[in-house]
């Protein structure tokens, strides 16, 4: 006997199906809106330079490689690879600095009781409220007097000294959530603070650390003001400064190469995110009591 579905059940099924269909179509439409600029950049990078500002078509009628092959020649005598190398150096140092210094600082705030802890913590959070532009000139003068202008030091020194208060805060909050029993057990086994930090707290804080690392990498990669102010020699410029060199207010801007380069500049950021986001999810899925 074949099962007979009542009309009521059928409509119920259909409604569910159309509902899910509508939901997916809606989500896809939303995605199209969000991705539109990316698709535009992608399409534009294959257009002749003149068409980029002239034609409104999303995709090129006749794709050309000229924009990408033009990148190989560099700009104003500087190779594109040098911009990428400098940005990578900056981003990697920034990530190393933030991860090491912020986690150590956060350990102190989260796990050690000491006099003035709350006051210092409040002060640290207070530094978040200082606008960047207030610090700009005093910092510039400081690094100039130290002789560090035109090096990466002004850009990364602060990162090694846990001045990124937001990430310290993030890690403190995370470490406070780790069970107290774990460090007590470590203490019983004879661990000092450094050992507890290194062997217990740091591995368990992986999600917070990965989050900080991803954001630090993206921030450093996209940073414009810092490199603009501190780097003078064009061969030391980062990608964000290199992109500006394609602009020409008084003549003809090289939009083709600019767009092609911004597309290429997205690759490391996406790659970094892809490489680490699985740890992020992995970290959140597992509890602190592993192994």
């Amino acid at each position: 006997m074949t099962s007979v579905t009542t009309p009521a059940a059928r409509t119920e099924n259909e409604r569910r199906r159309t509902g899910s269909l509508a939901w997916h179509v809606g989500a896809l439409l939303l995605l199209a809106v969000v991705l539109y600029p990316v698709i535009w950049v992608f399409g534009a990078s294959f257009k002749p330079s003149k068409d980029i500002i002239a034609s409104i078509d999303l995709l090129p009628t006749e794709p050309v490689w000229a924009n990408f092959s033009g990148l190989a020649d560099g700009i104003s005598g500087i190779s594109i690879g040098s911009f990428f190398g400098n940005s990578l150096m900056y981003a990697v140092l920034a990530v190393a600095g933030v991860v090491l210094s912020s986690s150590l600082t956060a350990y102190a705030f989260a796990k050690i009781r000491f006099v003035g802890r709350n006051l210092l913590f409040t002060l640290m959070i207070g530094t978040l409220l200082l606008p960047y532009h207030v610090l700009l000139i005093p910092q510039y003068v400081l690094f100039r007097n130290l002789g560090y202008i035109d090096t990466l030091v002004p850009l990364v020194a602060g990162k090694f000294l846990a001045t990124e208060a937001f990430f310290v805060f993030l890690m403190v909050q995370f470490m406070r959530g780790l069970p107290r029993e774990l460090d007590e057990a470590a203490k019983l086994d004879g661990c000092g603070h450094l050992r507890t930090y290194w062997s217990i707290v740091l591995p368990l804080s992986r999600p917070a650390i990965i989050t900080s690392a991803i954001f630090t990498f993206i921030n450093a990669w996209n940073d414009f003001m810092g490199p603009l102010i501190y780097l003078n020699t064009p061969s030391k410029y980062t990608v964000s400064l290199g992109l500006m060199m394609f602009r020409d207010q008084e003549g003809i801007s090289n939009y083709g190469s600019m767009i092609a380069m911004s597309l290429v500049a997205l690759v490391p950021v996406i790659a970094f995110f892809m490489a680490f986001q699985r740890y992020l999810i992995d970290g959140m899925a597992t509890s602190g009591l592993k192994g």
């Binding site: 030091v153 020194a157 003809i252």
Partner: protein
């Protein structure tokens, strides 16, 4: 588990070590380059400019030429685009570390003179390191502030009207020397009627054009320390402008915004646009039509109010090598070979040595040269309008507020009031 943790630690330690080493390396280079003089007496000076790739390539060639002639002087180039340049310069100037020599413009002279950043190059001229002779059409005065020579012009340019030659021809109208504003707007009306495109892209938001209009009427945009016109003057100017937007004589500002960064003229939205003559190269590159330079409309049938503006080279007052800096500027503005390499990239070459050495071969540069020649011969060139400290901020405010008027967001009277209050703040800052 244990071993893997050890490996991890080792890699991390290695990474930390590498980091420390890099920081150390960076530190050594940082200490080396500060004084600018090395053991064998070679002097290094920093030279900064803004501009596109063609300019950078040309300047690098002239630097190579200079270094060959002065083997004891090394030039360290620093370059970026216009906005980034001034953002960076502001921090550098406040931090006491601007480049030794840099490209400068009239709008910034008083601002940085007031802060003591600019060197008075007269002292170097008196010492024989810099020649202040042979400048054409009195452009040397563009670099003077209160009897000080704080900038040496590298080129000269003037405001011009860029027109779509094909559109003008098709509509049967002609731009004539000495034509009046009425004649100009009548011509635009004919173009609008016959070709169904606007006449102009938005003339009333351009500070330098309003300056010319005021000069034609015995005023100017600035006095030595203030605005040279009244709120009523400006209200009138913007009211007329807005009327022409509504009638379609001036292109719809929304459409102009949509085609950016392309100009409304090269996008075919309008048939004319006011701009500096040396910027005119962009239209040929962006648009499909033919473009040419036309005379500025006048009030009395003769005076255009035009003057020559300049990009120039300035020196930092605190440089450790004033003599070498002066020699470098001298070379850049007088050497015929350097002039040949630079061409009209920063305006018509300012000294007779360079002007005579370079003969333009491309139609755009020939057109610019012919235009400035024509203006000079007509005898309409006047003395440059003074640019008080804050002129750069006011120029941007004029463009922005004028744009709001064009879109009908702000009433002309309110807009004029807003500009006056922003100007007051800019003069004080």
């Amino acid at each position: 588990m244990r071993t893997s943790r050890n490996v991890e630690r080792r890699t991390i330690l290695k990474a930390a070590g590498a980091t420390a080493a890099t920081l150390g390396l960076a530190a050594t280079t940082g200490c080396g380059g500060d004084s600018g003089t090395s053991a064998d007496g070679t002097v290094t000076i920093r030279y900064a400019w803004w501009g596109g790739e063609p300019r950078t390539i040309a300047i690098k060639k002239t630097i190579a030429l200079f270094e060959k002639k002065y083997p004891k002087i090394k030039i360290k180039p620093e370059f970026t685009d216009y906005e980034a340049f001034w953002e960076k310069f502001q921090t550098q100037a406040s931090g006491g570390n601007p480049p030794d020599v840099f490209q400068n413009a009239v709008t910034f002279l008083r601002k940085y003179d007031k802060r003591g950043v600019l060197m008075d190059l007269k002292t170097q001229a008196d010492a024989g390191n810099l020649n202040l002779e042979n400048f054409r059409n009195g452009v040397l005065a563009n670099g003077q502030v209160d009897d000080k020579q704080v900038g040496i012009p590298v080129g000269a340019n003037t405001m011009a009207l860029v027109i779509d030659l094909k559109a003008f021809k098709k509509a049967g109208v002609e731009a004539k020397f000495g034509w009046t504003w009425d004649e100009y707007f009548t011509a635009l009306q004919t173009i609008q009627d016959k070709l169904k495109i606007a006449g102009d892209t938005g003339y009333f938001s351009i500070m330098y054009l309003y300056d010319l209009y005021l000069r034609q009427n015995g005023k100017a945009f600035y006095t030595d320390s203030d605005l040279g016109f009244t709120e009523d003057d400006l209200t009138q100017w913007w009211e007329d402008g807005y009327k022409r937007v509504k009638s379609g004589l001036v292109a719809d500002p929304k459409k102009i915004e949509q085609v950016k960064p392309k100009s409304g003229l090269s996008a075919g939205l309008a048939a004319s646009e006011f701009t500096w003559d040396n910027f005119s190269i962009r239209y040929q590159g962006e648009g499909e039509s033919d473009y040419g330079l036309a005379p500025i409309p006048t009030t009395n049938g003769k005076d255009t109010g035009q003057y020559l503006g300049s990009l120039m080279l300035s020196a930092f007052s605190g440089t450790k090598h004033p003599k070498e800096v002066a020699q470098f500027i001298d070379f850049m503005v007088h050497d015929p070979e350097a002039g040949k390499i630079m061409g009209y990239d920063r305006g018509i070459l300012s000294t007779t040595e360079q002007y005579d050495a370079f003969k333009p071969t491309d139609p755009n540069n020939q057109g610019v040269a012919a235009y400035e020649d024509q203006v000079a011969k007509a005898g309409v060139l006047g003395k440059i309008t003074p640019h008080p400290s804050g002129a750069d901020v006011i120029e941007a405010a004029f463009l922005r507020i004028g744009g709001e008027v064009a879109q009908g967001k702000t009433k002309p009277a309110d807009a004029a009031k807003a500009l006056f209050s922003e100007a007051k703040a800019a003069f004080a800052g």
